[in-house]
Each structure stands twice: as structure tokens, then as C-alpha cells.
């Protein structure tokens, strides 16, 4: 051994600390025959195959988890979009006099456009009944179902690509302020 190396080793060489030299020594002295006694046949093809199969069996669920997550991410993305689209409409409906403005006893179904912009919910232009909508991807659709008799509003957002992301939100509209019941 080179004395300079030896000196270095004796100081604080990390390899020494990790007993690198010992391993080396082992490599120097150990032969294949020493590890596997003479006469043994080593790992056969079947054994390796079994090991791989075992590994795959254990690893498959993990791999499927990854694949599941990718699919889930798409659904979650679609759901987040649906949720925010529905919430956007409901929040605005809370602030407009929908029931008194529409003045109907029937159940009204209104399909809303996917483009961004102002949409009036009344039969004729009325700033009080106008809501602002954000854009939605073309595969989505949204509509409002107003039940004037029950004073409820249902917002339905659907996705063609991700049916699991379809969402329905229903809320009672607080229109009655007391005073006297409308006639």
C-alpha cells in the first residue's frame, strides 16, 4: 500500500470510515467459489422468473395507483371546474331578485352559454336579472332550473368527457323580506 494513501486512510478518509478497505479486502480474497460452494448450481432461470413475478405482483398495485392518480387528476380538474362554474352562478343568484323579477308560477329551465359575458335571466333585457359568466370548455354545458313555486334554484353543470364531474347544486332563494306577501 502506498504509504501516502495509508496515511490518508489513517486520518479521516470516509471510505475508511465506511470500511471500504475491508470490502476491498474481501473482494481481494473472496472468490465466487468461496461465496457459492463448489458444486452448487447458482440462481436458475425459474428462480429469477419467480422473483420478477413476485416483484411485479407487489409492484402492480403501486403502478396502478400512479395510473389511477392520473385519471383522478383529470376528474378532479373537471370537478373543480364544474364546482366553480356552479358556485359562480349560485353566488350571483343570491344577489339578484330572481323570483320577483321573473314573476312566473312555472318551472323555468334556462340553458346558459359557455362563452364569457353577461346573460339576462329575464324574458327581456333587465339589468337586475343579469349575471356575469366565465367561459367554460366546449365539452361542458350549464343550465339553471328555477322552481318559482318552491322558490328554489338548481344549477346543473355537465361534462361530456368526464360524466363523473357532473354536478347539481340546489339552493333556496331567500326572496321573502316580510312586509306583506306579494299578491
Amino acid at each position: 500500500m502506498n504509504p501516502r494513501f495509508s496515511k490518508a486512510l489513517s486520518a479521516n478518509n470516509p471510505n475508511e470510515f465506511l470500511r471500504f478497505s475491508a470490502i476491498r479486502a474481501c473482494r481481494k480474497t473472496t472468490k465466487r467459489s468461496a461465496y457459492f460452494p463448489t458444486g452448487s448450481k447458482g440462481l436458475g432461470f425459474v428462480e429469477v422468473l419467480m422473483a420478477i413475478v413476485c416483484f411485479l405482483i407487489a409492484a402492480l398495485p403501486i403502478i396502478s395507483i400512479f395510473s389511477f392518480n392520473i385519471e383522478n387528476a383529470k376528474v378532479i380538474h373537471a370537478r373543480a371546474l364544474s364546482y366553480s362554474a356552479a358556485q359562480e352562478i349560485l353566488n350571483q343568484l343570491q344577489l339578484i331578485p330572481l323570483m320577483s323579477g321573473i314573476k312566473s308560477d312555472a318551472m323555468l329551465v334556462m340553458d346558459l352559454p359557455n362563452t364569457a359575458g353577461l346573460t339576462c335571466l329575464g324574458s327581456k333585457p333587465d339589468p337586475r336579472l343579469t349575471i356575469a359568466l366565465s367561459a367554460l370548455p366546449p365539452s361542458f354545458s350549464r343550465k339553471i332550473i328555477i322552481d318559482c313555486a318552491k322558490c328554489t334554484t338548481k344549477v346543473v353543470v355537465k361534462s361530456e368527457d368526464q360524466p363523473r364531474a357532473d354536478i347539481e347544486m340546489e339552493r333556496t332563494m331567500s326572496e321573502n323580506m316580510g312586509g306583506r306577501a306579494a299578491k
Partner: protein, 675 residues
């Protein structure tokens, strides 16, 4: 070994993955649960506020009645017993996401304040408060963690009368009336015959004010009052005559024995002279004694009588003192007929410095046969203008006050020469004569009440007004008190200082931009549904269509003019409508001879018909800054509607309104509970 090692590694990986996913799942679940709880809370709040809104919109509901009658000490007012009803209405009920949701709701009306803290109008039933809702919600299913949250919502609330404060007690309220006295014609502009009918020259017809709808109602507290403000005395000339529509002779008779004839009476407090205390020698040749008396007749004002050629009210120059100069008092009578007419006399309390003026014609009469009946008039006791000087009477006072030379008694068919006597001998003193002479009487307007209620037929009648605790005859309105029938104190203030602001402050519950928005919101065909709200229209004018029916009560205040194009009617007795032209606006009445069932207010402006042939009928009341007779050439009928009377208000006249927005919103985490 390799297999074991692989399985171990995979096990460790799997375990850590499970833990990681489980944490993530808990995390996501917490967020989802929290979002679901938020949604549930908003839905619950909507349902609860909607439900309470519907409950208090029903004037028959217990909650409505409880709230209206609640005073400061009754707060907070808790809402109970509706939980089950609410839970059936939640749109999330039965949805699997919300399975395992537990909630409790605490609803109470709290934080009482008077509707106008600093005003002189204090109706204890009128108030502001908050409708506070506290929701405690818990949600979560095993194996996920259950979460708990407390939500607090608050909306403003008002409980107010459907009658405007103060003025609703008045049939007619004129803040700045026209100056009306001896030298300013003002409201004395109705030119009429002695029977009360209008002459062809009259530019106006009277506005007849009926202060109650109950026939012959003599309880003034049940009537609509009248206020003519200002500091100067308003001297209203009584209209002469017994005409059914316009004559005001009925003011001198008991309300149940009204006559359309001239009220005539014998003066009882004659001078204490020999002529009036014992039989007086009228004539020496032939000797004729007589019991002298003074008889008087009361007249209103008129321009022409029915004689041919017609005379004016200065009959035989009897009232010369009052009508001698060109600047003197007008003979026209008042355009304002404050006590109705002979068909329906409606006495009321007239507030303000208001007096009525009428003529008393006196005549010296003689009873020749001592039968207690007058046998004829010796002479009309005229009031001579020329004898009134600044420093007393002239030396020739008696010179022109002479008896006629011959007294003709048609009754006895006698003619007696009166050479041996004179008015000076009969009255002895000038003051005695002047007290008995014909004159214009100026008296507090509320004295009319005594005549209407008195049964004795005496003139002047007994005093009943004070005895019935109506106060002084002259009430200027500077310290005016209004109490509710049940004893509640409502008002103590100066009527002269009333401003439009005081009528509307803190009362507006809805604001609309203009006519278009108003029509869209409140008009459905010809139905005006104000839903018990006080509505402020930011931009006038506002035009109400003809033939409109008020189907729910309300108050409309407009920043500008209000145009009434025709008839307005109430669907029921409780559907009161008040129209307020604010910001100096006027109320213009279009159409012709149509009835308006509403209370009209233009405190900073005026109210007038736009067509000269429009004789308006208003069933409600009227409050104006100025009222100019020239604007009402065809006259009007103003009939007080007792539904507006704030002193007789019942719960039905009030409206409880909650805001359509959350004034406060707060959320906090709490220990999840299962209720």
C-alpha cells in the same frame, strides 16, 4: 432473501403510501366536508330567512303580532318551534353527501333601537333591530373525522307603521298657508251668494274637508286634525247660507238639529239701562209702551243676496265699519271648509292660529203687547265707520244713529211715531250701543265645536271643548302632543318645524332607480303591489296609471314630482297608500273628477289638479308646503280615511321587514356535536 427483501421494501413503500394517501384523504375530506358544511349553512340560512320572511308577511301570525307589540324590554325575541318546518325545506335533505349532518339553529330578533332615536315622533311599536341566526353544524362519517362549525348571520330588520308619522293624524296639513286676514284675501276667495252657492264670477269652488267617515262623529280624537301653520293668524270667512254643498250655516247649530236657515237669537246680556229693564215709552201720542230687546242674526260672508237688485253683505250699510274702504276686508268667503258641510258635519281639532269670521246683525225690536214675542224691528243697529277715530268717539256719535220716524208693525198692523225717543235715550252710553251693534265676530275656530255639540240653542253656546279635554281653543302647534288611544305617547313637538326628512328617515326599505324599474317591480297590470314596503324612487317624476288598485299597503317617496293620472283605489281597508313628493317635488293630479284613495304629501311643494274642470276627491289626507286656491278652480272633497290614523293603529297597520342582505357573516370552528 431477495424475495423477502423485495416484499419488505414493497411493504414499507405500501405502508408509507397508505399513510400518505390516508393523510391526503383526511385532508381532502376535511376540505370537502368544510365546503359541504358551508353550502349547507348558506342553504339553511336562506331557508330560515325565507321562512321567517313569509311568517312576518302574514299579519295574522303570532310572530308578526309579537314583534309589532314588542318594546325595548321584550328584546331579544326568540323564534322557536319552526325547526322541523325548516329541516323539511332544505334542498340538501336526503342527499348522501350530507348524511350525518347535525345542526341546531338559534334565531332571534335582537339589538333594539327606536326607528328615529332623536325625533320628536316616538311610536314605541316602531323600531329597528337585527335578525340574528346562529347555526351550529357538524358533519363527517367514519372513518373520517367529524367537523364542527358555528355560523353567524345577521340581517337588519324594521318594524314600522304603514302610516307616515305625525301628518297621518291630519286630514289637511298646510305648513305655510296663504296669508289670510283683513287685508290679504288669501283663502277668502270663494265668491258666493247669501245661500252659499257660488256666483258666476267666483274663480274657485270650496275645498270641503270631511274629517271622519263616521256619520256625526263628535269625538275629536277619532277625527283627522287640521293644521294651518305659520306665525300669523289665519282668518277664515264663514260661507253664508244653508246650501247643501257649500253653505256653512250649520256651524251655528247642534249637529243633530242642523238647519239651513239663518240662525236668529235674542241677546240676553242687554245693557243695564231703563229701556231694557222695564217697559219703555216709545210714543207719547198716542201713548205706547213696549218691551225692547235686541235680536241678532248670524251670517257668513257673501257677495250677493237674493233680493232684486241684490245687496252685498253690508246690508243697509249695517257693517259699514268693516267694509268702508277699498283696502278693507273682502266679502268673499273661505275656500277652505274645514268642518265638512250640512250633509255631513265633521268637527275636528283645528291646530294653528286659525280663527273664523262671521257677521252678527243686530236689531232693536219691540214687543208692544207684552206677550213675549217681538212685534217688529225698530232699527238695525249698524256699526258706523265714521265714528271710529284713533282717539275714541266723535262728539256726533248719536247724530247719525237715528231711529226711523215711524215704526211699522206689520204684525199688529200699527204705525207708531217715534219722535219722542232716540237711540241715545235707549242705550244711554256709546259703549252700550257698540257692544250691541252689528259686527264681524272673530273667534277661535275650535269654538265651532261648542255650537255643534250644544243642545241648549244658546248663543254663545256653552263651552264643551275644554270640558272634553281637547285643550285650549287656540293651539298653535308649537308644542303639540299626539297620544295613542291606548295611552302610548307618539309625538311631542313643533308642527311648524316638520321636515320631509323626518317623515322618511330610516323608513325606506327598497330603492328603485326610476319609473321603469318601479313599474317592473311593483305594477302588475293595474295592480299596485307595494308589499308593505317604503319605496324610494331616486329619479322622478313618477307617474301612476289611471284605475290603479292598491293590493298591498306601502309608501312611495319620489325625488321629484308625482303624477296621478286617474283613479286610485284600495283593494281592502288595510291597503293604505301614501305618496310623498320629496326634494321639493309636487303632486299633480290629472284626470277629471276621479277619486284618489291615498294620503298625499308634498311638504316642500304643493298638490294641485292640472285641469281646471277637475273636482278632485281625495280619500286619505293631504299634507302640503303651500296650498294655493287658484290651483283648485273646481274645488275638492278631502275626506280623512281613519285607516291612516296613527292614534288608532292596530298591529295590522304595521309592517315587519327584513333586509335582503347579510349585514354580518361570521364562521368559527367548534367541537363537533351530535344533536
Amino acid at each position: 432473501m431477495v424475495i423477502l427483501g423485495s416484499i419488505m421494501i414493497l411493504g414499507i413503500l405500501g405502508f408509507s403510501l397508505y399513510k400518505s394517501i390516508s393523510e391526503k384523504a383526511q385532508f381532502v375530506n376535511a376540505h370537502t366536508t368544510s365546503t359541504l358544511m358551508d353550502m349547507a349553512a348558506l342553504e339553511m340560512a336562506s331557508v330560515i330567512y325565507e321562512s321567517i320572511g313569509a311568517e312576518i308577511a302574514n299579519t295574522e301570525s303570532d310572530l308578526f303580532k309579537k314583534l309589532v307589540k314588542a318594546t325595548s324590554t321584550d328584546f331579544p325575541v326568540k323564534v322557536t318551534g319552526l325547526d322541523r318546518k325548516w329541516s323539511d325545506l332544505y334542498t340538501f335533505s336526503g342527499k348522501k353527501e350530507f348524511a350525518g349532518l347535525f345542526s341546531s339553529a338559534d334565531v332571534r330578533f335582537d339589538e333594539y333601537t327606536p326607528i328615529l332615536a332623536t325625533s320628536s315622533w316616538q311610536d314605541p311599536w316602531e323600531k329597528r333591530c337585527n335578525l340574528n341566526l346562529t347555526l351550529e353544524i357538524s358533519l363527517g362519517r367514519r372513518p373520517m373525522r367529524r367537523l364542527g362549525k358555528i355560523y353567524r348571520f345577521s340581517r337588519p330588520c324594521k318594524i314600522q307603521s304603514m302610516s307616515l308619522p305625525i301628518i297621518s293624524k291630519f286630514t289637511l296639513f298646510i305648513k305655510n298657508p296663504e296669508e289670510t286676514n283683513e287685508t290679504n284675501e288669501g283663502y277668502n276667495c270663494y265668491e258666493n251668494f247669501s245661500d252659499g252657492k257660488a256666483t258666476q264670477c267666483s274663480k274657485v269652488l270650496p275645498m270641503i274637508v270631511f274629517n271622519t267617515t263616521e256619520y256625526r262623529q263628535l269625538d275629536l280624537k277619532k277625527a283627522g286634525y287640521i293644521f294651518l301653520g305659520g306665525n300669523k293668524e289665519i282668518q277664515l270667512h264663514v260661507t253664508s247660507g244653508g246650501d247643501e254643498q257649500n253653505g256653512e250655516f250649520f256651524q251655528f247649530f247642534n249637529v243633530n238639529k242642523a238647519e239651513n236657515q239663518v240662525p236668529v237669537f235674542t241677546i240676553t246680556n242687554t245693557p243695564n239701562t231703563a229701556a231694557f229693564t222695564k217697559p219703555y215709552r216709545l210714543s207719547d201720542s198716542p201713548p205706547q209702551n213696549a218691551n225692547l230687546a235686541i235680536q241678532a242674526a248670524l251670517y257668513g260672508f257673501y257677495s250677493l243676496d237674493s233680493s232684486d237688485p241684490p245687496n252685498d253683505m253690508n246690508y243697509k250699510n249695517t257693517l259699514e265699519k268693516y267694509f268702508s274702504s277699498s283696502k278693507s276686508r273682502s266679502m268673499k268667503s273661505s275656500f277652505l271648509h274645514l268642518y265638512g258641510n250640512i250633509t255631513n258635519p265633521t268637527p275636528t281639532l283645528v291646530v294653528g292660529k286659525v280663527a273664523r269670521v262671521f257677521a252678527q246683525y243686530s236689531a232693536l225690536t219691540a214687543d208692544l203687547d207684552n206677550d213675549g214675542k217681538h212685534d217688529g224691528i225698530l232699527v238695525m243697529l249698524k256699526a258706523p265707520a265714521q265714528y271710529i277715530t284713533d282717539n275714541g268717539k266723535s262728539s256726533g256719535f248719536w247724530d247719525l244713529l237715528r231711529l226711523p220716524t215711524i215704526f211699522k208693525s206689520k204684525k199688529k198692523n200699527l204705525e207708531i211715531e217715534l219722535f219722542s225717543t232716540s237711540l241715545e235715550k235707549i242705550f244711554e252710553k256709546e259703549d252700550n250701543y257698540e257692544q250691541m251693534a252689528s259686527k264681524l265676530v272673530l273667534q277661535d275656530y275650535n269654538k265651532v265645536y261648542d255650537s255643534l255639540i250644544d243642545q241648549s240653542k244658546k248663543v254663545p253656546p256653552q263651552e264643551h271643548f275644554k270640558a272634553k279635554s281637547y285643550g285650549e281653543y287656540m293651539q298653535t302647534g308649537e308644542k303639540f302632543i299626539i297620544n295613542h288611544d291606548d295611552g302610548r305617547s307618539l309625538y311631542n313637538g313643533n308642527l311648524n318645524k316638520l321636515m320631509t326628512n323626518e317623515l322618511l328617515l330610516n323608513r325606506v326599505s327598497l330603492t328603485v332607480e326610476d319609473q321603469e324599474e318601479f313599474d317592473t317591480t311593483f305594477l302588475k297590470n293595474a295592480n299596485l303591489d307595494l308589499q308593505g314596503q317604503t319605496i324610494y324612487v331616486k329619479k322622478g317624476p313618477l307617474q301612476l296609471p289611471s284605475k290603479v288598485v292598491v293590493v298591498n299597503p306601502g309608501i312611495i317617496a319620489v325625488n321629484g314630482d308625482i303624477k296621478i293620472t286617474g283613479e286610485i283605489k284600495r283593494a281592502t281597508d288595510h291597503d293604505l297608500l301614501s305618496l310623498v313628493a320629496a326634494g321639493g317635488g309636487n303632486i299633480l293630479i290629472e284626470g277629471t273628477n276621479e277619486e284618489i284613495q291615498a294620503y298625499l304629501v308634498a311638504l316642500d311643494g304643493t298638490i294641485k289638479p292640472t285641469k281646471s274642470n277637475n273636482k278632485v276627491t281625495i280619500k286619505g289626507g293631504m299634507t302640503v308646503g303651500k296650498l294655493m286656491p287658484a290651483d283648485w278652480p273646481s274645488g275638492a272633497q278631502l275626506i280623512y280615511y281613519p285607516g291612516f290614523d296613527p292614534t288608532r293603529n292596530t298591529e295590522n297597520n304595521y309592517s315587519v321587514i327584513i333586509g335582503d342582505y347579510y349585514e354580518q357573516w361570521a364562521v368559527e370552528a367548534c367541537e363537533p356535536k351530535i344533536f
